[in-house]
Symmetry: C2
Subunit: 133 residues, 2 copies
């Protein structure tokens, strides 16, 4: 999830929504919000549910980006993640960590922390493909 936030003079500065993990693995690390799809749940709805649980933001306009499935990307076992992106324009919505997320916060795209799992790689690809930097 990211927001293009207007700056004085007409340019924009993109912000990315991250969560601080409240559980192992990578407890205390920042990561992209997300979680596991329930059996029988449409992944297009699971992303909305998970982001709402972890950040308080509901009903975001997600679209699929790419699917990541390399077997070494999660120490818990082989995990396939469908990455979605939602783009907003304007001021940053208030967020609040919940469920597995100890915190939720916006980070300017040029001030990102190190991320858990392969999320640095995912976000790098996303930033490049969307031309955010």
């Amino acid at each position: 999830m990211f927001v293009r936030r207007p700056r004085p003079g007409g340019s924009v500065r993109p912000y990315i929504l991250l969560i601080e993990r409240g559980q192992e693995p990578f407890e205390g690390s920042w990561a992209l919000p997300g979680g596991f799809v329930d059996y029988g749940e449409d992944p297009d709805l699971a992303v909305i549910r998970e982001v709402a649980e972890e950040t308080g933001l509901d009903g975001l306009p997600f679209r699929q980006f790419r699917t990541y499935g390399r077997p070494d990307r999660d120490p818990r076992g082989h995990t396939v993640s469908i990455v979605y992106v939602a783009e907003l324009v304007g001021e940053l919505p208030t967020v609040e960590g919940g469920d597995d997320a100890a915190k939720a916060a916006w980070f300017a795209i040029d001030e990102l922390p190190m991320l858990a799992f392969d999320h640095d790689r995912i976000l790098g690809t996303l930033i490049s493909v969307l031309g955010l930097r």
Copy 2:
């Protein structure tokens, strides 16, 4: 997998690679080639393996298209499919059904049969997004 096959006069006619299913569900129906990712297998490699097993074509230049995960799309249970596309230009390579596929064959895009599962929907979206018709 599809091929843009040149026609006299310089235009092209796109062909899609399909298999006839040799097992239930949808035994005897045509479908997109594919199968299940093994645990510990990169999906980007699984697609190459499955298409080689079912059609005899190996090492195709696949890229991800979209991921489909609606819970009602496979009667065997909730199944998430990562759809890949590979595009060739020229004459149609020889194909041969194998493994779960009773047959493999090329179909001109304007002469497609009804497909199993939600593959009509997937292929319709693909044809539209890639501007093949």
